[in-house]
């Protein structure tokens, strides 16, 4: 598997995602500059990493969505390619319309960084097929704008279509219905606020994030 990690100006978890994939997952990775308008043909999955693309100015992810690579990511996703957005990557996915809803300021109005308990709500995705439904993962969050919000009918639809992928065990930011991660209708685009790439090494206190990458690997093998 070769993952393409997109680098926007202000991405700061790009190296972490690259390191996690190459050193801890044992796969390959490449950094993709945001000005590229094509995804190289050897890329099997795309990661939109965390950070502060464009300084989070205007709104988190609101400027990144105009980067040329977003068009290419959309094409990649439309063709069934696997796309994951962590933290700022999730914000970019909602801003660019690849995922529904929005991420707004945490309800305590502060940046929060700590480990959270994350419940796997569905294993019917390429990102959680190696997990067990109801399994609790320990994965850190680090965000100021992670409160997931959407219209009630959108939330109902997400639930009805089994598209809520992760929920917080203890809601850290006011996210509606405790939602921490969702996927699109075709189930090949995942957005989540927690950072699985930070939980892939026993020295970092948890390896629970590996399950996301292992799921990805087996989904790609099955493809």
């Amino acid at each position: 598997m070769k993952a393409g990690v997109v680098v926007f100006p202000g991405s700061n978890c790009d190296h972490d995602a690259y390191y996690a994939v190459t050193q801890n997952v044992g796969a390959q990775a490449a950094l993709l500059w945001h000005q590229e308008s094509q995804i190289p043909s050897d890329i099997d999955a795309i990661i939109l990493p965390g950070g502060f693309s464009y300084g989070d100015y205007l709104r988190c992810g609101a400027i990144a969505k105009f980067s040329p690579i977003i068009g290419a990511v959309k094409k990649f996703a439309d063709a069934g390619g696997l796309v994951m957005g962590f933290c700022n990557g999730f914000q970019i996915l909602t801003e660019s319309g690849l995922l529904p809803g929005a991420l707004i300021r945490n309800n305590n109005l502060k940046f929060r960084c700590h480990q959270v308990g994350l419940r796997v709500e569905t294993t019917n995705t390429p990102f959680t097929n190696a997990a067990e439904k109801g399994q609790i993962l320990t994965i850190p969050i680090a965000h100021g704008e992670g409160c997931y919000t959407a219209e009630p009918h959108v939330l109902d639809q997400l639930e009805a279509e089994d598209r809520v992928v992760f929920r917080y065990v203890q809601n850290p930011n006011g996210s509606l219905r405790d939602i921490a991660g969702i996927c699109n209708a075709s189930r090949n685009v995942l957005g989540m606020m927690p950072h699985p790439e930070r939980a892939t090494d026993p020295l970092m206190g948890s390896t629970d994030g590996l399950v996301v990458f292992r799921s990805l690997l087996s989904a790609l093998v099955a493809k």
């Binding site: 700061n12 978890c13 996690a20 965390g50 502060f52 300084g55 940046f111 090494d201 026993p202 020295l203």
Partner: protein
């Protein structure tokens, strides 16, 4: 008629004597711009004119020191072709005037010092001090300052993408009108790619990169060298505005530009901006620098040469490139969407020559600016001190209540409310984050990790600046040793009052000498640092507060926790119960929090024993003999025991019989002690014995209880809850 009147000279914070020196160096009267240039370069902040003669006493060398003081940051060899660059710097004055931006730009400034060397920053720690949050008069303002400082640090570090992995947060009345914000940063650098702030190569282009120049921060360095008065609030425009996003781009662009091989020298524009970077780069290389201000990217129109030269706009760098390779530099900065422009060139005559559209504006010898600032051996008498030597009468009625009060006091309570606002994990190197004895970050490029501890103690240093400074170094080294690391180097931030008062100058001199002794003894040379003087408001000085940052090295491995992990383990006190008496109890947290007094002397330090304790714990940790290790410091044994129990496993303790009265036995702060839990007490004793260090078995770990027989008994929850919630309650009182 002359425009430089005595009033104009005074407004630039230059003394008449200093102005005479300007006249004799120039051989003529300066222009206003030249006067401004002299005033910032000769300010206390840039020239260290009051401290320089004493700073020379600090040890600065060892086999591991690749680069000592004098450059933007010191560098230590960590092996396998890599080094670490680190330094601490203060942003005290700006953080009082505008807490959020003051603290944010403090982080930005020190990060630039690190990456201007070619190092990628991998850790930030902060030492912050405020007036008490519960003071009826000043409490609300202190709370506002703390919240502003913390969110400023979070804003800058989080966005930039450097983890804020630890630090300290301390409260005392003397910081009421003068908070301290000291920021430490550390980066990793390949040994063969170290960059210097030197304008080498006659004819090489001088290139300006990064943010445009605006009118912000003009005379920030001069402001930081003045006392605060009622008028200081009007100095708000002197505080710079930070943009961490721009700094992140600048980091990536600078590292990429360095990688091209076209960069000859580089320096950040910090205090005194374009002025400082040009003349220092020239002075270090023994060259001249000529620039024309028309080429400087500007944010606003109509800026005068004076304003452009003195602006402290953030996120700017000056670099000297190899002639003919300018385009390679421009390409990199264009890629990252940043301005870059050739503003001048290196000359052979040693002069700083500033033109504006060709017209000569300033012409001063670089060396006169950077190295010829007046140096003062200011008179110093006996250190200022206004407390008795004798202890007051005191007697505890409830030791458990005392412990709870201590645990919920400002200095000792949990700082989770603060550090959870910091991204302390980004870059996935944080082996031990905030809340432990020392922070640990791994260096991915090697198998080595770096342990870091920041430490200061104003009360100890007030009672005895010399011994206090030694204790501060000893504790930081102990913290680093407790996690298994060998302390190898230090950086210091000397926060003091007005050096023109002999009794304050005496505090500074004695603290530096004490620090020098201790750093020599513990083999931690000081590779750089910062001096912040004039920390006074309306004539009231802060407690003398030298802050030390100790850096230690250890193999990358799972760290030893500071808390007890399992029931049924033997609890041991490495270094024994320690010694104290009532005189040496007057600087403790017990005296401060419960008796609200200060007297006597700081705890007595035996540096030989201390060093042996460090060696012992390192051997014990390396041998894998302990499940937890936590050093004793503020609040003494009882507080350390409570803290070690906060994962739910407490202990029943039976202390050996002692002549010490119970308050002293439980709460004295005698150094050289570490609390460990182990399954192998004999082997721990054996190793400790090898180093001549007592290791006393004092009890057993148990679930949920903290019992010190004959003195107190509590559930872990009774102790944990007030400790965990105190800061947030105080902030939202």
């Amino acid at each position: 008629m002359s425009t430089i009147t005595p009033e104009v000279v005074a407004a630039h914070s230059l003394t008449p004597d200093e102005y005479q020196k300007v006249l004799s160096l120039l051989g003529r009267e300066p222009s206003l711009t030249e006067l401004g240039i002299f005033s910032v370069m000769w300010s206390e902040h840039c020239s260290y004119k009051s401290s320089k003669v004493h700073l020379k006493k600090l040890p600065t060398r060892s086999q591991l020191v690749l680069l000592g003081p004098g450059e933007n940051a010191g560098i230590i060899d960590i092996g396998q072709g890599y080094g670490i660059a680190f330094k601490i710097e203060s942003h005290n004055h700006p953080s009082f005037i505008e807490p959020f931006q003051g603290a944010a730009t403090g982080v930005g400034g020190i990060l630039r010092d690190i990456f201007t060397m070619g190092a990628r920053p991998i850790a930030v720690l902060d030492s912050i001090r405020f007036g008490p949050l519960d003071d009826p008069q000043t409490g609300p303002r202190n709370r506002r300052i703390l919240e502003g400082v913390v969110s400023g640090i979070a804003h800058y570090g989080n966005c930039f993408g450097v983890p804020t992995v630890g630090g300290e947060c301390v409260f005392h009345k003397s910081y009421d009108g003068n908070p301290l914000v000291n920021v430490f940063a550390l980066g990793v650098i390949p040994k063969d790619k170290i960059f210097f702030g030197r304008a080498e190569g006659i004819g090489n282009p001088v290139i300006y990169v990064g943010a445009k120049t605006g009118r912000d921060g003009i005379h920030g360095a001069t402001m930081a060298s003045d006392e605060f008065t009622e008028e200081s609030k009007q100095k708000r425009p002197n505080v710079q505005m930070g943009d961490p996003f721009l700094e992140k781009l600048l980091l990536e662009a600078c590292l990429e530009a360095m990688y091209t091989g076209a960069v000859v020298g580089i320096q950040d524009m910090g205090a005194a901006g374009l002025t400082c970077s040009t003349c220092e780069m020239g002075s270090r290389a023994g060259t001249g620098v000529e620039i024309d201000l028309q080429y400087v990217p500007q944010r606003e129109t109509g800026m005068s040469p004076y304003e452009i030269m003195l602006s402290e706009s953030q996120e700017r760098m000056l670099l000297v490139a190899e002639k003919g390779r300018e385009q390679e530099i421009f390409d990199v900065f264009n890629k990252w969407g940043l301005d870059s422009a050739t503003v001048g060139f290196v000359t052979d005559d040693g002069m700083l020559r500033v033109r504006d559209h060709g017209v000569l504006i300033a012409e001063i010898n670089n060396r006169d600016l950077a190295d010829e600032a007046p140096i003062y051996d200011r008179p110093h008498t006996k250190p200022h001190r206004n407390v008795p030597m004798e202890a007051p009468a005191f007697a505890s009625t409830d030791l458990k209540a005392d412990l709870i009060t201590l645990l919920s006091s400002g200095d000792l309570c949990s700082k989770k409310w603060i550090y959870e606002q910091y991204d302390y994990m980004v870059r996935t190197n944080t082996l031990a984050g905030p809340g432990g004895d020392a922070a640990i970050v791994r260096v991915k490029e090697t198998g080595t990790s770096v342990a870091i501890s920041l430490d200061g103690n104003g009360r100890y240093c007030y009672l005895d600046p010399r011994e206090g400074a030694k204790l501060v170094v000893a504790e930081a080294c102990r913290n680093v040793s407790t996690v298994g690391a060998l302390p190898v180097a230090a950086t210091n931030n000397l926060n003091f009052g007005n050096p023109q008062r002999p009794e304050i100058m005496a505090q500074l001199v004695e603290a530096i000498e004490g620090m020098a002794d201790a750093c020599l003894h513990f083999e931690t040379p000081i590779t750089g640092g910062n001096v912040s003087l004039y920390n006074e408001t309306l004539g009231e000085g802060i407690l003398p507060t030298p802050v030390i940052g100790i850096v230690g090295l250890l193999p990358t491995q799972a760290p030893v926790p500071s808390r007890f992990q399992n029931e049924g383990r033997t609890v041991m006190l490495l270094g024994g119960i320690g010694s104290s008496d009532e005189v040496h109890f007057g600087g403790t947290q017990y005296a401060h929090v419960l008796l609200k007094q200060m007297w006597g002397l700081p705890p007595a330090l035996d540096m030989d024993l201390e060093k042996n304790v460090h060696a012992a714990i390192r051997d014990i940790v390396a041998a894998g003999l302990v499940e937890s290790a936590h050093d004793l410091s503020d609040g003494g044994f009882a507080v350390a025991l409570a803290e070690a129990s906060f994962d739910g496993i407490g202990a029943t303790i039976s202390l050996p019989s002692s002549a010490l009265r119970p308050e002293l036995l439980l709460f004295h702060e005698g150094p050289s002690r570490i609390l460990v839990s182990t399954t192998s007490p004999e082997e721990v004793s054996k190793l400790a014995d090898k180093h001549g260090v007592p290791a006393v078995a004092i009890g057993t770990t148990v679930k949920g209880q903290v019992v010190i027989e004959g003195h107190l008994s509590a559930t872990v929850e009774e102790l944990h809850q007030p400790w965990a919630t105190a800061l947030e309650s105080a902030l939202h009182a």
